[in-house]
Symmetry: D2
C-alpha cells in the first residue's frame, strides 16, 4: 500500500500523435488520473494542435528538442515510428529525462543494445511500453502460473492477427524493420516469456514467413517456434491478413493444467445488430452488422491502464518497472533470430547478452508401481484404476487393472 504522503504526479511530453498517442493519453488522463500530458510534439503543427485540442494539452510544438527539454516535463513518452526510437531516446538521455518507449524498442538487437547502453550510462528511468503483458487477465493468469496452478509450463501459444495496421510507416520495411513479426511478434514474445518465466533463456528460433496477400516487401504472415532452456516451447503466430477483427489469444499448457485467454473477440460481450444506429465497437472491428464482440473499456482491456500505473509507481518509488529496456532488447534478439531462420530455413540461435541465470529442464521424475515405471494411470468408468506400466528390465509395456487407487 502507498504511504500517507503528498501525491506525486507527472507532467508528460508526448512524442507522436497517432492512434497509440490517443490510447496513451486517454489512459493517462482517465485512469491513473493524477498525471497530465503537458506537451505534445508532431512533425505537423496541424496535427499537434488537433491532438492538443482533443486532449486539452497546453503546449504543442514541431520541435522535438523543445518537446523533450521542456522544463515542466518529468517524463517523455516515445510514440513514434520504430526508426526514430534510437535518436529520440538519445536526446532524452542527454536531457536527463525519464523515458517510456513504445514497443518494439528497436528494429534490431544491435540497435536495441545501443539504446540500452545510452540509457544505462545516463542513469535515467527507462520503461518499455509493452502493454499486452499488463492486461488484467494476463497479470492474473501469470500470477496463477507462478503460484503453481498449472504445474510446469511446457508450451505457450501467443497469437496476434488482424487485417493490418492503420498508418503507412508500418508497411514500410525500412522504417518499421519488418512486417507483423516486428509489429505483433514483439507482443507475443514478451507474453510467452511471462509464462515460461522471464529468467528462462530463449535458446533458438525456427520461423516460417511469407507474403501471401498484400503487395508489400515485408512478410504479412509468420509462425515461429522458440525453444527455451527448460525445454518449454513458445509459439507465436502473427498475421496482417486475418479477417474478422483483432484475434488476440494466448494458450498455456502445463504439466498440471491449461489456460486459454481470448482477449478480444470472445469476452462475454456479444451483440447482434441489423446495422441501424451506429456504434464504435472496438479497434479493427470489421463488421457493422451481424454478430459482433465489443470490448468494454479498451484502454483497460489492452493493458494501458495497468501499464502506466506500474511505470509511474516504479518511477516515483525508485524501483524498476515490470518491463525494462533490457526486456525490449531480449525481444529484439528473438525477432532477429526469427528473421534469420525465415531465410535460412533452419533453427537459428538467439544471440543475446543474458543477464538472468539458468533454468532447469522440466522435471519428469517417473513414478513406480510394483517395481515398474508408471507411464499413465487412469480411472475407469467403473471406478477401478488402470495403469500402463513399463517393465524396468526388458522395457516392455503392458496394461494392468488394479482394484483401487494405488
Amino acid at each position: 500500500m502507498r504511504e500517507d504522503q503528498p501525491l506525486e504526479s507527472q507532467t508528460i511530453t508526448m512524442l507522436g500523435t497517432g492512434l497509440i498517442g490517443d490510447f496513451y493519453t486517454m489512459s493517462l488522463h482517465h485512469h491513473r488520473s493524477r498525471d497530465r500530458v503537458g506537451t505534445v510534439y508532431s512533425r505537423s503543427q496541424e496535427r499537434a494542435d488537433a491532438f492538443g485540442d482533443r486532449w486539452d494539452i497546453p503546449n504543442r510544438t514541431t520541435s522535438m528538442r523543445d518537446a523533450i527539454e521542456d522544463p515542466t516535463t518529468s517524463v517523455v513518452i516515445v510514440a513514434l515510428p520504430n526508426h526514430l526510437h534510437e535518436e529520440v531516446i538519445g536526446m532524452c538521455a542527454a536531457a536527463g529525462k525519464a523515458v517510456l518507449c513504445t514497443k518494439p524498442l528497436a528494429r534490431t538487437a544491435q540497435e536495441a543494445e545501443r539504446i540500452l547502453d545510452v540509457v544505462e550510462e545516463a542513469g535515467i528511468f527507462a520503461g518499455y511500453l509493452e502493454d499486452r503483458v499488463y492486461t488484467p487477465e494476463l497479470l492474473k493468469a501469470a500470477a496463477s502460473v507462478e503460484a503453481g496452478a498449472i504445474g510446469e509450463v511446457t508450451w505457450v501459444r501467443s497469437r496476434e492477427a488482424h487485417p493490418g495496421p492503420h498508418s503507412a510507416w508500418f508497411w514500410d520495411l525500412e522504417k518499421a524493420g519488418g512486417g507483423p513479426i516486428m509489429d505483433l511478434g514483439c507482443h507475443c514474445i514478451e507474453i510467452i516469456r511471462h509464462f515460461v518465466g522471464k529468467g528462462n533463456r530463449p535458446l533458438e528460433v525456427m520461423c516460417w514467413s511469407d507474403t501471401l496477400v498484400h503487395p508489400i516487401d515485408a512478410e504479412d504472415n509468420a509462425v515461429a517456434l522458440i525453444r527455451f532452456e527448460s525445454g518449454a516451447l513458445g509459439q507465436f503466430e502473427v498475421s496482417w491478413t486475418f479477417r474478422g477483427g483483432m484475434d488476440l489469444r494466448d494458450e498455456i499448457a502445463g504439466t498440471d493444467g491449461t489456460i486459454w485467454l481470448n482477449n478480444f473477440l470472445r469476452t462475454g460481450f456479444e451483440m447482434w445488430t441489423s446495422g441501424t444506429g451506429s456504434a464504435y465497437v472496438a479497434e479493427k472491428a470489421e463488421s457493422e452488422s451481424g454478430w459482433m464482440f465489443p470490448v468494454g473499456d479498451e484502454v483497460v482491456e489492452l493493458g494501458y491502464a495497468d501499464m502506466f500505473a506500474d511505470m509511474f509507481d516504479a518511477l516515483e518509488s525508485g524501483t524498476e518497472p515490470q518491463e525494462t529496456f533490457y526486456d525490449g532488447y531480449v525481444v529484439n534478439a528473438v525477432m532477429d533470430a526469427a528473421f534469420r531462420s525465415a531465410s535460412s530455413k533452419q533453427w537459428e540461435p538467439v544471440e543475446v547478452e543474458w543477464r538472468h541465470g539458468s533454468t532447469p529442464r522440466i522435471s519428469k521424475e517417473p513414478h513406480f508401481y510394483d517395481g515398474h515405471t508408471v507411464i499413465k494411470k487412469e480411472i475407469l468408468p467403473d471406478g477401478r484404476v488402470k495403469m500402463i506400466l513399463r517393465d524396468r528390465d526388458d522395457g516392455s509395456l503392458f496394461d494392468l487393472i488394479v482394484s483401487d487407487d494405488a
Copy 2:
C-alpha cells in the same frame, strides 16, 4: 476533458469493514488513486484496526459520530447492513458531509423516501453505489443501445445468482429486509432500467419466490417480471442456491438486435487445474480444481473503479452522478411491488413518485406491399424474396414469393 487546474482529491470515511469495504478501498486506493480513506469505523476496534492496517488508514474508531464528523473527511461511504442506512445517512446530512450509500438504499420504498427527503433538504451530495451499472461492458452496451444499435428495446433479462452471501446479517430478514430479491434484485432492476431507459416508468410487477433449499425465513429464489410504460418487459432472476460460482448475465432484445453479457463466468479467461498450487480465482468461485473461469481485475469487472470515478467527478464538478438516491428509491419501489406480488399472486402496481416524463409505446408501423400488410419478409436460399401478407379487407393471411427484394 478535465481543465488544467490543481488536482482535487477526497479524504474518505469508510463505515464498515466487511467484504464490500475491502472492495471499495481497493478500488479507491488503486484505481482513481488520488483519494484516500482516512478514517474507518467498525463496531469492533479489532476489526477497525485490522482493516486500517490492511489499507494503511490512519484513523480507526468505534464511534460512528466521530467517524462521520471527522474534520478531515470530505466524503462518507456507507458500507453497513441495510437496517442502518437511514440512521447513518441522517447523521451525514446533519454533519453536511457528502454521502455515498451501498445498494440497496433502504429496505422499503417508504424508508428510501425518508432518506431521499433528509438528503435533499440538507442539500448534500448523495450517490447511490450501484456498481453493476458501471461495469465497462454495461457502460458500452448501454451506449450502444442509446445509439440505436438494437432498435427499440422489447425485453431485458438480468440474472444474478450465487450460493449465498458471506455475512450473517444478509440472512436475517429483519436486518436485510429480504433475501436475494433485496440483495441481488436491486442490481438487476437498475440494470434493466438502464436498457429500457431510466425515463421509462415501471408500471407493475409479477413475482414468484420460494424458499427451496436454505433453512431461512426469507426467500432463497425469485423470478419477477416488470412491465414498463413502453410495453417493454424486464425480467429478473435471483438465487442464493446457484451452484458453480457467480452467475451474472444480462440479455437485451430489441427490434433490430440483441445483446448478451456474461459478466463473470465466461469472459475469455479459462483455466483447468489439477488443484496443485493455490490461486484465488474470483469472488464466490466454488471449485479449486477442474475448469475455472477467473476474472481479471474484479474491482474493474464489477464496476467499482468506474463507479467511484463517476461519483467523485460529479462531486468535484458539482453535477449529479449517474446513480442518485432517487434511483435507489425507484428500485425500492419496484422491490416492494415484487414482494407484494409474491404473496398476492397477482400483478401489483409500482407505487412511486415519478419524476421523469412519459415514454411512448414501442412503435409498430406496419409496412405494406401491393396494398397488403407485410407480416414478414425473408430471403430464400435461392435469392428470391418471400412475403407473408395480410389482406387489409378480409384479414386473411397468405404467402407470396416475389422475384426480387421489393
Copy 3:
C-alpha cells in the same frame, strides 16, 4: 441390443410438404436409412410432385384419404397445420394406421383430449413428434440429471426465440391456436418437464404476453412461469421478434449443480465471412456476412434423427415411445393455463387428468453444527472454514470461523 432377426422397415405416408416435411424426410432417408417415404399428400398436386421429385417418393396425391389408406403405408406422419390435426388423426385411427403427429398435438387441451381418446380407443401406435427433447445434448443432459449429477432440480429455463415462422398459417390465430406460446412454448414445456421429471405435476402457470412488433392478432412475445408439485419452477420465454438467428437455450439449476445448453448459436462452430461465396448456414440465420454460427448437421442437432429412431424402435418392439400423445395433451393443458393467465393477470391452475403419481417437495434437511442450524459453510482463502449459523433457540444469526473443515 437388437436381436439377430431380419430387419424391419417402415413405409411412410407424409402428410404435408412444408419445411417440416423436408426436415422429416431428410432425417428418415438419411439417418435411420432403412425406412422410406412411399406416399406424399399435399392440397396442391404441384407441391406434392415437387416434394416427391425432391425426395424420390413414388406416390403423390391430393387425396388425404388415399394417402392415409394407401395399403403399402405402415406409418402416417402428420406434418400439417394445427387446425387439421384432429380430423386427420381421426382418419388414421379409422384406417388402423400408426400415426406420428407434429407438435403441438392440438390447439387446446380439450381438442388434445379428444384426439387422445380416439387413438386409445382405436389401439393404434401414436407418437408425439416433439423433436427438441431428442437432441443428443438434451438426451445426455437429462440422463445426467437423472443420475443425480446436479442434485434436485430447482429451476429450469427454456428459451426459444427467432424472427418468426416461414408459413402464413402460423400467423393465423384461428388455424394455429396462438402465437409463439403455441409454436415454441410447446417445445419449452416438454423440455422443462424432462428436467423437473415427467412425473412431476405442473400445478399452476403465470404468463405475460404482448404483441409488441408484428401487426397480428396473436401475441408475438411471452414469458411464463410454471410451478411444479416438487416446488421447482419452470420458466419459458418465447418470441417471434428475436434478432440474430434462432435462440434455443436451456438452463437447469439444481441443489448440486447447473447445466447450460446453447443448442444453436454457440456450438463451437464459428465463422466470419466477408460475404463472398454463398453458403446456407442454418435455419433462420439472419446474416450473410460477419460472424456466424453454423450448425453441423441440423437434422441431428434439432433431434429429428434420434426422434424417429425412438419412434420406429418403439413401434417395432411394441413399446411406448419416449413422447406420447398423453405428453402432447399435458403440454396443451399447460398452454391453456398460460393463455388464461395472460388475460386474467393471475396464476391459473393447470387443468389436466393426471396419470402419474405425486412428487415430494425438494428436500431441505438442515445440517447442524454445535447444536446450531447451518445456513452456509464456506472455505476462506486462508483455508479456514466460515459458517453462518442460526441459534435454534432465539433464531438469531451469526458468523463463526472454525479452524478446519468440520
Copy 4:
C-alpha cells in the same frame, strides 16, 4: 437420393476389441442401423466373448484367418495396433474382402505404399477410417470453404491434445511407429488437407518434437508446419501431456474469412457439478466435479456415424469413399517428413508419388487508386475512407483520406 430397391446391408468382421472397436460397433449398430457385426476377433477368447456379449455378435474367434475368411462377412474392419495393419490387409486382399482400416494406415510411407499396392492389385474396396474429417461440423465447414465463404485459404491450424492414449501398445515406439505425431498428427494432417484442398500438394515440413513429461522413447509433444504448393501453411500441434480433457480444435484463415471449430470442449453443453451422482461425460474427460463440457452423442460428434455411412454407400454404389488408402499414404509421407525434420532441424521435403495435379499460388492481384497500389483501405469512424497507398514510381508509402468509398 437412394433408388427404390431392396435395402443392401453389410455383415462385418471386427478385428480388435479395444476402445475403437467399441466406438465402431456402437456407430454401426445404432446409426446406419442396417448393418451388423457378425464376427469379432481378439487374441484373447475372453475379450472376444466379452465384446461379443456386449454387442450381440454371434461369432467370436481368436483365429485371424477364420475371422477374415468367414463366408458371411462382406466387410472387414481393421481395429488393431499399427504394426499389424500390413499383414492383416494382405490377408483381406488374398480373401477378396472389402477392408476398412483404422488410422494411421501404416507406420511409414514405405509400409503404406506396399499396402496400397497390394489392395490395388487385388481390386478390393478399401476405405481409410479417418473419422475426424467426417464430423458434421467439419463436413459443413469444408463445404463452406469450397463454396468460397472465406476466400482462398492461407493458414490452417489443427490441434489434438489429451493426456495420452488408453492402451499400452500406443506407448511402444516399435508397435506404434511414433508418439502423438503418429497417433494424433495423422488426424490433423488430413483435416488440414481438407481445408487447403486435397489436390494441393504438401511440399515440405518443419517439425519440433520433444519428450517433456512421460518416461517413454517416443515424443510426447510436437508442433509441425507444412508448406503447400499454393503457399498456404498447415500447422499441427499434438500432445500427450495436455490437461483438461480432449482438445480438438481447428482454425482456418482465408483471404475473406475465418473459421474456428472447437469440436469437444466448448460445444454449447456446459455443466457444473459438486460431484454427487455419477455420469460419464466424454472420452478422456479428466474431472468428475466442477465445470465440465460433456459431448452429446460422441459417436456422431467424432464423425463415426457419417464415416461409415460414406464408406458403405460408396461400397454399395461402386464409387470411391471420401477417404481412400491413397489418402492414408499421403498422410504417412507427411509424417515421415515431420520425423526427419525433428531430427535434422531443417525443413524436409515430403516424398510422395503425387496423383493429383498442381495448385496455383494464392492470388494477390493488387488494386490501384489514382495510379498508386492500394495496400489497405479502411473506413474511419466518421465514415470517410482512409487508404494506405504505394507510389508505383518510387515505392514510397503514404496515407490518403478520401471523402467517400472509392
